[in-house]
Structure formats: C-alpha cells, structure tokens
Symmetry: C2
Subunit: 203 residues, 2 copies
C-alpha cells in the first residue's frame, strides 16, 4: 500500500512517498538493504559532527533479541510492531564525547539520522514507522545502555504489508488520509505568528 | 562545488550529495523553491503527528529582517552565513498543544523536519548548512518567540558558491574530506557495545 503526501507545493518523490505504516509484510529485509539504511543514517549532519546516534538492531530471525526489543516498546506499539521483520532502537549520547559537556542538539541530530534512514528505506521499497512510545528505562536495562545515553525512539522496518491484517482500529488509521498543519501556521517572517510573505501569492 | 559522501554501502543519490557548505552564491533562491523546502519539512513524521516545528524565514532582499536573523547567530557563523541569500531559524514547541505536557521528542522531530528540508534542497540544486551556534535568548527577544518554544538551529540556504571566496581557515574546512564514524562504532545488536552481526561479512 502506498499513501503519498498530498502536498500544497511539489516535493521530490522520495519525501512524498515516505510514510509510516503499521502493516508490514513477513518477508525479511535483505542484509544489504539494512546496511544501506544504516549508512544513510551515518551521513546525517550533526552539531560539531558529533554523530550522537547509536542504533540497536533486532531482526525477527533472532527471537531472543527480538523479544528483548519488543519489551522496550509500549503495549500499543507491540500490538503491530511485533509483526515487522526488523526493529531498531535509536539512542542519543547526551554529552559531547570530547568535552563531556551537554549536547543540546543530541535528540535533534538523532532525529536527522532517523530521517535519513527512513528516506533511504523509501528509496529501497521499504517503510519505516518510528515510535515515540517506548520504555527508555526498560531499554537501558535490557540493552545495557550507559547513563550518559538515552533511548529515544524505536523504528519498525520492513516491506509494506496488507492493512487488512491489522486489528480494526489500526486498519482505520492505516487507511485514513494523511494530515498536516498548513504552512501558514508554522512559517513566520520577522515576528512570531506573522505568516511569511512567501506564502502570499502576491510576493 | 559538490562533495559526495564516500559511503561504505550504497545510499541513494540525494543523501549522498547532501552536504553542508559555507560558500553560497549571491543568487537569490526562487520563491517556489523555498515553498517546496518548507513543504518538505511539513511532511516530516512526528510523535503523535504533533508537528512541533516552526520556521522563521529571512531573505537577503529584506535587509532589516536579515540583520535580525544574523543577530541570533554566533559570530563564527555570521562570518560566512551573512553571505547566504536565505536564513531560517528552526523553533521547537516544547509541549504538546492538546495536553500541554512536555514533548520529549520535540527537538528530535524538528531535526526530522530540517532533514526533510535539506534533502528537498539537494533535489533542487540548493544546499543547506545547519548551525547549532545560535543565541536562543537573543532569538526569543528579536522574534518574540513564546516561553514554551525554543529556537533550535539556524539554517543557511542557497545555491552552492565559490569556496575560493571564503576566508582561508574556512576554505580549508570546505575542501577537507568529509568524515564519519564507522558503522561498527554505533550499530549494536543485543547488547550495548557489541557490533551487530549484520556488519560481519559472514552473516
């Protein structure tokens, strides 16, 4: 299933096609493709080129590791994510490695790496559904995540599957139109709350 | 100037070509292209579809607004970013609009929107250089950013320019090879610090 963004202005095809399904095919993801996803994450930009991201990876063909990953997700996500062939956990190093000082942009940069990964997935015919709903303390315990790092999100990864196999409530959400706030609500000019003149046809 | 990522595993062309130059051409950026960049940001995924991002936009053809934006950057960034034709400031809403509760993923999701914007820029022949080096308090003052929002990064945007016009120190950095940590240092399997078997040739 595809679910393209209904854009107000054109955007390139990879960004238009990227979305976050809950239905995944059982088909495993080729090792080469997973490596390309991680390589894409690797080349994200970051503050001071700190690269504050770590990715923990679990594939369904390793049931023990996969269960450990599932134990870090909230139940509402386990319900569908358990059927994805690959799960990852993104982790942020909170401090700069060189100075030990707090990195204000650690989460921001992990988000950049996750987006790169998701866009590469789209390019390879895969889909990624990121989840905020995780148990960071549980993840720390089961994976041995150090004190100066925090689990940030989980990522379900796989080939798109059949929405018909989802429970009814999730199936409805899967088939509902995608929505976003209008540009006027978040693109401002010289002053907070004043829509940018870029957005008016006359400019 | 182009500066492709030297990848260990293949990634799609947009991600490979994206990089963060400091040399921009004086040429203005077409309004339609800026709208596509913002539209790309708009379609980033976010926790609960909260879309916690705001972008403040300044173009060089509005000197007063452009100076205000420059006043929010640290001096080391003003040195080169003053020559970009477009500057933006990304801002995060720290709390969920519906509940008022803290959004742990606000910065992460603003990072996702900024990456989408940067990749759309690459697709349109533009380049984006994101900056962590800003004065968030100064930005709050000059743009009237509310208390429950924080300036996160600045973005310099334009067509690639001539590195020869940069001061010597910056020119060296512009021409230096791009570097990233190896995958082995941040892709772990069941346990923190243990490189994923995906990365070993035998798996």
């Amino acid at each position: 299933m595809e679910k393209h963004a209904e854009t107000q202005y054109p955007v390139n095809d990879l960004l238009r096609r990227r979305w976050s399904p809950r239905a995944f095919a059982a088909r495993p993801v080729e090792r080469e493709k997973l490596l390309s996803l991680l390589e894409a994450a690797r080349w994200a930009p970051s503050s001071n080129n700190e690269q504050p991201w770590v990715f923990l990876v679990a594939t369904a063909d390793n049931p023990e590791g996969f269960q450990r990953m599932l134990s870090s997700l909230v139940d509402a996500n386990v319900a569908w994510a358990q059927h994805a062939p690959v799960l990852m956990l993104s982790v942020a190093r909170r401090n700069f490695e060189r100075s030990g000082k707090p990195n204000r942009h650690a989460f921001y940069d992990v988000g950049q790496a996750a987006t790169n990964l998701s866009i590469e997935a789209t390019a390879l015919g895969l889909a990624v559904h990121q989840m905020a709903g995780i148990h960071p303390d549980k993840a720390r315990e089961v994976f041995g995540i150090p004190d100066d790092c925090d689990a940030v999100t989980a990522l379900a990864i796989g080939y798109p599957g059949d929405p018909g196999l989802l429970p009814e409530e999730l199936r409805k959400r899967e088939l509902a139109p995608r929505t976003r706030k209008p540009l006027e609500s978040f693109v401002f000019d010289g002053r907070w709350g004043e829509a940018s003149p870029l957005l008016s046809k006359k400019s």
